[in-house]
């Protein structure tokens, strides 16, 4: 092993593990192994990564409060440091982490809230694409509608939860005190779209998520409608097609 490699291995390990001693060979002009100076690097790494997570999961941060969030995020950073310098990709494992992190076990819906915020981030950075336009729609013969395949916009994300995750998210995304929410009131599904550059989170009606999930898997409009009815007989096909088009979720509709 080269000397440089050895130095960097020791340095990296000590930066991540606050209890490790300052590595050999590190010095100031006044002493060897200066703990406080070395601590600047430790601090830079943790503070910056915790702040990245705080910016990426603002609703989780608001729900937990600043101190609790930071303490939680710090443990996450310790266990899951980034593996890429492109920090917009950092934090994808945070939802799963929250689901097994004991101090938040009393908030079983928190992981899904984080999942929604991560999906928001994916949508924010997704590729640009023009949603299907009125001309293309007008050119489709409605009698062939049942056999159409939908291609979704690259930003589209579907969130399904047994908790009212869209309501929790939206109540905590706006200014002012959030309304009281009963987490046991039933699950919610959300659709995240970004037809232009603004991300929108939409609340899906009954059967909507099953409809979208089936279309995503390559099912035809007719097959997806069947799947949605099967999940919920209250599924409103017309409202769902209109909703998907109007929200900019669909990039293209193609014949079988």
């Amino acid at each position: 092993m080269s000397q440089l490699s050895e130095i960097q291995t020791g340095f990296a390990r000590a930066v991540l593990n606050a209890k490790d001693p300052v590595p050999e060979g590190v010095e100031s002009h006044l002493r060897t192994k200066p703990l406080k100076r070395f601590g600047v690097y430790r601090n830079n790494v943790y503070v910056s990564l915790v702040s990245v997570l705080e910016g990426r999961f603002p609703v989780v941060a608001r729900l937990l409060g600043e101190d609790f969030f930071k303490a939680t995020a710090r443990v996450f950073v310790e266990q899951n440091p980034p593996n890429s310098p492109v920090l917009m990709r950092y934090g994808g494992q945070f939802p799963e982490f929250l689901e097994i992190f004991e101090p938040v076990a009393d908030l079983p819906w928190l992981g899904d809230v984080a999942r929604l915020e991560w999906a928001w981030n994916l949508a924010y950075h997704a590729a640009d694409r023009e949603p299907v336009g009125s001309e293309a729609l007008a050119a489709i013969d409605p009698s062939t509608a049942a056999s159409l395949h939908a291609e979704f916009h690259p930003a589209v994300q579907l969130i399904r939860s047994v908790y009212p995750v869209v309501t929790i998210w939206s109540e905590n995304s706006k200014d002012g005190e959030p309304d009281h929410i009963d987490a046991g009131a039933g699950g919610e599904d959300g659709l995240i779209v970004r037809p232009g550059i603004a991300v929108e989170v939409r609340h899906l009606p009954l059967g909507g998520a099953a409809f979208i999930a089936a279309l995503t898997k390559g099912k035809t409009l007719g097959e997806a409608a069947e799947a949605a009815f099967e999940e919920d007989t209250a599924f409103d096909l017309q409202a769902n097609i209109a909703g998907l088009i109007a929200s900019g979720a669909i990039a293209e509709l193609r014949a079988g």
């Binding site: 002009h29 070395f38 790494v45 492109v86």
Partner: protein, 293 residues
């Protein structure tokens, strides 16, 4: 002649003040079209597929020259460069055609873990060989000359065999890269390691400087109560750094100068004032002292 040739298709960066672009200032910049010489962005923030960041930057690029500053290439690492990341950097450069491309004399990735800080390197012949290899690779892939920034450091290594200046000079002579002189980093490192910033600057190879950075720092104390400065880019440029900058410009002539303010980002007007202060110093001299080709 200035050795830093503008890249084909790019707008050259003028020897005026530029400002680090922050999305929160987008509206003001696009509507007011302030008389700012150029903008700089961190390459890594534009490595996503699409959406708002690219929308913002494309609009800025339409009206201003742009400099791309990488923060994550880990040029000072012993390990090989992340090829995927280098390709992503090239993609950003191909898309936005920056007038300047720069990176740091530092490392941040080790064993696949990205530490999100600019970590220091020992100034040894072994590090020198590695850094030069990496810079040559970057210049090969990008097809252009890059600038390397002098670091701000909080510790040093027993295994260093030469001074930072000797190290930087050797890199330039071996790779032909240019230098990004961060005057605040000079002040921070000189204070932290108890050497004279003025002497360091007077000996700096100005003929290879393609860009200057000016940022703010915070004051702290080291293990023995000695002054320790932290390069936090969270405040205005300190008066002492303005003084060093003035001295630098008097010696090397006008060089594109960036106002760096990355944390606790202020209102746009505050950045404009900082840029105006740099422009006032830049306009005192017009003769650029550069190396012969």
């Amino acid at each position: 002649m200035n050795r830093i040739q503008p890249h084909t298709g790019s707008s050259p960066i003028p020897a005026r003040a530029g400002v680090g672009f922050k999305p929160e200032h987008f509206g003001e910049i696009l509507e007011g079209r302030p008389d700012v010489g150029w903008f700089e962005v961190h390459a890594e923030n534009y490595m996503g597929d699409g959406g708002a960041p690219h929308h913002y930057l494309s609009a800025i690029r339409e009206h201003y020259p742009l400099s791309v500053h990488g923060v994550g290439l880990s040029i000072g690492a012993d390990a090989e460069l992340d090829k995927e990341h280098l390709v992503a950097l090239k993609r950003v450069c191909d898309r936005y055609e920056p007038g300047l491309v720069s990176e740091h004399l530092a490392w941040s990735t080790h064993d696949g873990v990205y530490l999100n800080d600019l970590l220091p390197v020992p100034y040894s012949s072994e590090t020198l060989a590695r850094v030069c290899e990496h810079i040559e690779q970057v210049q090969d892939v990008l097809g252009r000359r890059m600038l390397l920034e002098n670091p701000s450091t909080y510790i040093k290594f027993e295994s260093s065999e030469m001074s930072e200046l000797e190290f930087l000079r050797a890199i330039v002579s071996r790779t032909g890269c240019g230098l990004l002189l961060d005057v605040n980093n000079v002040h921070v490192s000189a204070t932290n390691h108890a050497y004279d910033a003025t002497a360091y600057l007077d000996a700096f190879p100005y003929e290879h400087v393609g860009e200057i950075h000016l940022g703010g720092h915070a004051e702290d104390e080291g293990d023995d109560g000695e002054p320790l400065l932290i390069d936090d880019h969270a405040s205005a440029v300190a008066d002492i750094v303005w003084g060093l900058y003035d001295r630098t410009i008097a010696r090397c002539g006008p060089v594109p100068t960036l106002i760096e303010w990355d944390n606790d980002v202020p209102a746009w007007d505050k950045l404009k004032d900082e840029a105006a202060r740099a422009n006032a110093i830049l306009s005192k001299t017009s003769v650029r002292h550069v190396a012969a080709e």
